[in-house]
């Protein structure tokens, strides 16, 4: 059990789960907290790591006044027990046996299940080409920045492209903007290659990106989405 900060407002919890059955990249767990008076609150969190015995990593974004995330990112201490149900979800998953190229498009904390896929690709020895487009507000808001830099260099067949929506790094070649046709065309795959597309982020982000991919010619059945709502507090 351990915890590490990813950004000033996001924290990864490393949990040791006895009898964990293993999981697929993209699956999530439901975390339930119970107060002394019996009041319970439950939220879903994507699993961040590739399957690794009983080890489970969750990256939690602190939502202001979010009753579960404020506990997990602030009050929670290493060693405190948490109640977990899962792994659950079979739709937004990627399996290392899949032969098709993959496009991952993440917005903010929506990177978490996509990171599990990137990690599972390497762990499973897959050579399927992956492209990640990661939309963040500013350079400080990106999760897993060091690891993504290293993997983009060392994991053969992985491309990583950032889109900054509010403030870009110094000397960045373009002004802040949202993920649109240009980014999806430049850093994504042509629809003719029939990639599997995974889009995860806030509802508006997911709607826009998925609609744009379909408009560019991608098969809607191959565009899988997962929305992180502000209800995820």
């Amino acid at each position: 059990m351990a915890a590490r900060d990813e950004t000033p407002s996001a924290r990864t919890l490393v949990l040791d789960v006895p009898d964990w059955p293993g999981h697929q990249a993209g699956q999530h767990v439901d975390v339930r907290l119970t107060a002394e008076d019996g009041y319970t609150a439950q939220r879903s969190y994507s699993i961040a790591n590739a399957a690794d015995g009983g080890r489970l990593e969750l990256t939690v974004q602190r939502v202001p006044e979010g009753e579960v995330s404020e506990y997990l990112t602030g009050v929670y201490r290493v060693g405190d027990p948490v109640e977990i149900r899962g792994p659950v979800g079979g739709w937004f998953v990627w399996r290392p046996a899949e032969p098709d190229p993959v496009l991952l498009v993440g917005g903010g904390s929506g990177i978490v299940p996509l990171m599990a896929m990137i990690r599972a690709r390497k762990a499973g020895g897959s050579r399927v080409p992956f492209r990640l487009i990661y939309s963040v507000r500013s350079p400080e808001d990106g999760y897993y920045a060091d690891e993504l830099r290293t993997r983009a260099r060392d994991d053969s067949g992985l491309d990583v492209a950032y889109v900054y929506t509010r403030r870009a790094p110094r000397n960045w070649p373009e002004p802040p903007r949202r993920v649109g046709v240009a980014a999806l065309n430049t850093a994504g795959w042509p629809p003719e290659l029939a990639p599997l597309c995974y889009v995860c982020g806030p509802t508006g982000f997911v709607e826009t990106v998925a609609d744009t991919l379909v408009a560019l010619g991608h098969d809607p059945a191959r565009v899988r989405t997962e929305r992180f709502g502000p209800t995820g507090g």
Partner: protein
Amino acid sequence: MTGERIDDYLDGNDLAGPLAELFAVDVTVATGRCASCGLAGPVAMLRVYPHAPGLVARCPGCEEVMLRLVRTPDRAYLDLRGMLTLAIPLPA
């Protein structure tokens, strides 16, 4: 939880945990057909509104209610009247 907008929604992926309590298979990968407009697609792609006293899942095409799930301490109420059919993949 303050500051939520009621028009925000999640998706059927979030039904996986609550439905796993009731069913032996993962229902979110099943194909549901909307009783209102006939659109068919994975349950994972429904629009889920968690603000009600329960979970309300609507058709992404016509926004009619397809599934409602309310959990009490000792019972679950599942309303599927908006779901014409549910095609559940099973191992051959």
